[in-house]
Each structure stands twice: as C-alpha cells, then as structure tokens.
C-alpha cells in the first residue's frame, strides 16, 4: 500500500520516492512540495515496481533500497513498459562509485535510464535533477500521444479502405482504379466476376487483352488522350465475359487531384450495356422494317387512287371504288398490326378478304394447308382477292345464284425449289369476256401480287369461268426485301 500526497491522475507528473531509511523520504517530499512538484511514497521495491507500471513520472530511490531483494519485480516492471516509456530514475548514492558494491552497480546499470546523485543531498541539485527528469518524461508522453494519434489515423484509414472495398464490391458495377500513369492496380470483385480471370492478372496494361480486338485501338487512343489531358474518359466497347462472349460495356473514368491540381489517381467503372445495345439494334432493325412497310402501304394507296381514277367512268364510281379498296386495305392493316407486322396465316387472310363477299354459305369453297405469309404478301393477296371477288359479284360467278368460286392453295414438295400454287376458279357464272383494258384489279393481281411472291400470276378469261392462278417458290410467301 502506498501513501500518497497526489491524486492518481497526477501520477504521470509525480515523483515516486523510495527512501525507507530515516527521514530521507520526508525530507525529499518536503523539498519537492516546496517547488510545487507532487510526490508519492513507495514503501518498498515491489511498491515502486507497481508505480512504474502505473506510469509514474520519475522514480527517486536510495542506493540501499535499490539493492533490496524483490524477486525481480522492478526489473520486470521496467521490461514491461510500453515502447515509448522509460521512467527516469534518480538514485541517491552513499558515496562515489569506488565504494559501491557490485550488486549496487549492477542494479543501477539495470535501470538503463538512471542518474546518480551523491548524499548528502543538496536541495538545489535534487530539484534540478527532478525537474530535468520530469521534462524528459513529459517528452515521452508527447511521443506516446503522437504515436497513439498515428495509430488512430491508421485504424481510421484501414476502416475507410474497408468501407471503400465494401461499397465497391457491393455495387452492381465494375470498378477499377489506376495510378496517375494509367497503371491499373485495383479492380473490384464485380470485374473479376464478370471477366472470370484470376485476381491480379489484368493489372498494369493487361486489361487491354480483355477488350474485343476491333475495339482495342480505339479505346487505347481514348485512354491515352485522357491520361495526357486529364479529361474524363468515356467510351463504349466490347469486354470479354467469363462465358467467352463479348458484351458491350460503357467505360468511364475521372481523375482525382491533390491540392496542387496534380492527378493522383484515376477511378473508373464499366457498366454492362449489352442489353441496351441489343435493344437499340433491334429498334433500328424494326424502324428500318417499319419504314419499308409504310413505304409499301403508301404506294398501295397511291396506286389504288391513281389507277382507279384512270379507269373509272364517273367520279361516283371512282369514289365508291376507292373507298371500298382502301377500306379492305385498312382492315388488312389492322390484322397485320395485331400480328405485330410479322407473319400471318394464309387461311386467316383468305377468309378475311372473302368475308365481306360471303352472302351465304357455299358460294366460296376454300381449301388449303396452314402456311405463313409475310406482311407485304398478306396485303397484296387481300387486295387481289378483293378485286377478284368484286369482279365475280359484278360480272362473274357470284352475280348469279347458281355460281360459286373455288379457292385452293397448296405447296408443291416435288418442285425444285419447293413451290406454292394458289388458284381461283369460278363456276356456273355467265359467259366470260375479257375486259377491254387492264384495271387496277387485274394489274394488282397479275403484276403486283406476282412480284411480291416472286412468282407468276395468270388471269385466264376462260369462257366457262374466270380462272386465276399464282405460282411461286414457297419462299415467296414470306420473303422480305
């Protein structure tokens, strides 16, 4: 147990006094107290060892107390000090070194940071020695504080980096970073997930090998430009995915600068935009196709109007003809939109075209296998059937009760290439005479339809009943431009 004249907080700047004989301790304490220096009494060496462990400021000890047996406790306490700490010792010796025992010498040497004052004690000497020792001790505390600060900063930095890594690895982007010279030295986990390459294998300039060969020159040039000018980097390119295929990504990077404006690092990312690119491409394709469709439809309307006007005998006739033809075309359009302008079934097209002309069952006998038609072909066939039916109603088989029309189509697998044939045969109508001139209908049928199917169309004005036949390769049903 120690007697203390100072609170525990002030131990750091207090003097521990171990001078058990006579009035030495009291005298020393009084001397120090007079100049405002706190002190603590230690009863024995173990107690002093304890105070060393408790971070005393300075230790003041008499030679005889120092040589007492203590089972190495003081030595242990000295060895256990933290690296910054070296408690200054002031040893009050009895005489000169010539009269010192070997044991005393050894003990004093073992202190390492010890100073020897000879007794009798001079007040001024003691005070100066203690003050000097306390100042040195204060420097040690400063060093300790600075070291703690550095350790705190290091821990914060470590935390900060851990935080960065956690964020960088959690976002759904590939993140990378380079030195100011462009040397890639960091990639987040997403990069390695995407590319499937071993960690570190794309460091330096090895990243370029992951890019599509056709994109390498372009991206190198752009990267070099950014490195030289400090301007942000942004470019689309194809990056090799771990599956072996290339995917479009958007690569971006920005520099980080120090207080003088010098670039210290580049931070960049790669965003997978492959789906967007694919959709873009598909959109472009679709727009191109729509363009064709619209062009074709406009041409058809233009033709309907122009041809009808050429041929009609009165404006009224022209109007009715135009209206009915454009009406049929509009319906056909609707069906095409519902089928998203891809293919429709020929049966549907035939039934829809003939529908308005079916006055009763059995006037039309329709038969044929299920085949797909492209949109252009569907429109043209609709218009052609409409023309044939209108004609049949006015002058042909459908103008009498007993007449009927047979519509048949089939594929010809024996032909080379595989063929298609569609025929329209009228029965039981009045005698057929060929028209004096070609109208929209017959031209649509013979020329346009044949053209779209890449085949041949024939209108045969057989007196027994009008016959129409379309022959083409099977591929003609769905060919685009």
């Amino acid at each position: 147990m120690t007697d203390r004249s100072a609170a525990r907080d002030d131990l750091a700047l207090a003097v521990a006094i171990l001078a058990p004989r006579g009035r030495d301790a009291a005298v020393a304490a009084a001397l120090l107290d007079k100049v405002g220096i706190a002190s603590v009494q230690a009863r024995d060496l173990p107690a002093l060892a304890g105070l060393v462990g408790a971070t005393i400021g300075v230790a003041l000890v008499t030679e005889e107390a120092l040589v007492a047996a203590d089972e190495g406790l003081l030595q242990q306490a000295l060895a256990d000090q933290p690296s910054w700490s070296d408690v200054p010792f002031i040893v009050l010796a009895n005489g000169t070194s010539r009269h010192r025992s070997d044991r005393a010498k050894a003990r004093i040497d073992a202190l390492q940071n010890g100073v020897v004052l000879s007794r009798p004690l001079h007040a001024e000497e003691l005070v100066r020695a203690v003050r000097s020792a306390l100042k040195a001790r204060a420097r040690q505390y400063e060093a300790r504080d600075r070291m703690h600060e550095l350790q705190t900063r290091e821990a914060q930095l470590h935390d900060s980096e851990a935080k960065f890594h956690a964020i960088a690895d959690s976002v759904d982007q590939m993140i990378w970073s380079t030195r100011p010279d462009g040397f890639h030295d960091y990639y987040n986990h997403r990069w390695y997930e995407f590319t499937g390459v071993p960690e570190g294998s794309t460091d330096g300039e090895a990243w370029a090998g992951m890019f599509h060969p056709d994109d390498q020159d372009r991206t190198w040039a752009r990267w070099r430009q950014s490195l030289e000018t400090g301007q942000p980097y942004e470019i689309e390119y194809r990056l090799r995915h771990r599956s072996g295929e290339y995917r479009w990504v958007l690569g971006r990077a920005k520099p980080v600068r120090d207080a003088t404006g010098r670039i210290t690092r580049w931070y960049g990312s790669c965003t997978d935009i492959n789906r967007i690119k694919v959709v873009e491409e598909q959109l472009q394709l679709m727009l191109g196709e729509m363009n064709h469709r619209v062009k074709n439809s406009m041409a058809m309307v233009h033709s309907i109007v122009s041809q009808t006007l050429r041929q009609a005998e009165t404006l009224d006739q022209a109007r009715m003809s135009i209206q009915s033809r454009i009406g049929i075309m509009a319906q056909a359009h609707d069906r095409l939109v519902k089928a998203t302008w891809t293919e429709t079934a020929i049966t549907e097209v035939v039934e829809a075209a003939l529908g308005p002309h079916r006055m009763s069952a059995d006037r039309f006998r329709v038969a044929g296998p299920d085949l797909a038609l492209g949109s252009k072909q569907a429109l043209a066939l609709t218009m052609a059937l409409h023309e044939l039916a209108t004609n049949a109603m006015k002058y042909g088989a459908l103008s009498v009760e007993t007449g009927h029309v047979q519509v048949r189509w089939d594929r010809d697998d024996h032909a080379e290439p595989i063929g298609f044939r569609l025929s329209w045969q009228e029965h039981g109508g009045p005698t057929v005479t060929p028209p004096r001139r070609q109208g929209f209908g017959s031209r649509m049928i013979e020329q346009a339809l044949a053209g779209y199917f890449d085949g041949i169309a024939e209108l045969d004005y057989d007196p027994g009943g009008l016959r129409f036949e379309l022959t083409s390769p099977l591929t003609g049903l769905t060919q685009q431009d």
């Binding site: 062009k295 074709n296 041409a299 058809m300 233009h302 033709s303 122009s306 041809q307 050429r310 031209r443 649509m444 020329q447 346009a448 053209g451 779209y452 431009d481």
Partner: protein
C-alpha cells in the same frame, strides 16, 4: 432494223410505284423497260441499245443505290439522260451526275413528262 432510241428504263424496287411510273411513261408515248434493282438495270442496259433515258429511284436493295447507278450510267453511257426520283430528303445537286434531273415523290407527273420530252428532243 434497230429501234429508235426513245425507251425509258424504269428502275424501282416497289412494284406498285414502278407500275405508276411505267403508266406515266406510256401516257407520254414512251416505250419502257423495267428493272427492280441496279443490278437488273445494268443487265438490261448491257443487253439493249434503244434506251434513251434512265428513270431511277434512290433507295433500292442490292449492290448499288440509285445515285451510284446514275453515276455509273453517266460515266459508261454518256448519251443516256438521267432522271432521279425519290421520296428521301436531302439529295443535293452535288450528288447527281452532270445533266441529271431530280424529282420528288409522289411524281409531279406533268413536270416529269415535260422533262422526258425535253431530254429526247421531242417537241412537248
């Protein structure tokens, strides 16, 4: 006996529009040849000698569009006059060979027929 050089070669891939153009030519008294692509047009030009005028669209499938076809024809058969008709915008004079004329779509029929007559030296 060779035919007089007064036929028009109509080059247009869209059938209905080609029909329209051919009608226009016939109405004006011209004979016509038809082709649905630049390649087909060149085959026809190589096989006949009575074509006086090339009447071509611009956008066509195949190895050449109408402007390239016009340039090629102008260089190879300098006597053949050229009319380019198209719905696309932005065709400049610089895109046409010398002496060629451009008309938009839909066809301004009267103007085209006038041009045809002028080009073949017919009194309109």
């Amino acid at each position: 006996m060779s035919q007089p050089r007064n036929a028009v070669l109509v080059v247009e891939d869209e059938i209905l529009i080609r029909m329209e153009a051919v009608d226009m030519m016939h109405d004006a008294g011209f004979r016509t040849y038809e082709a649905k692509s630049a390649d087909a047009a060149l085959a026809t030009l190589n096989g006949t000698s009575d074509i006086a005028i090339l009447f071509t669209d611009v956008e066509m499938p195949g190895s050449m569009n109408g402007l390239k076809l016009a340039a090629h024809v102008s260089a190879t058969w300098p006597d053949i006059r050229i009319i380019v008709a198209s719905g696309i915008l932005g065709v400049r004079d610089a895109d046409l060979p010398p002496g060629a004329r451009f008309f938009p779509k839909p066809y301004p029929t009267d103007q085209i027929i006038d041009a045809l007559h002028q080009m073949t030296g017919d009194p309109a």
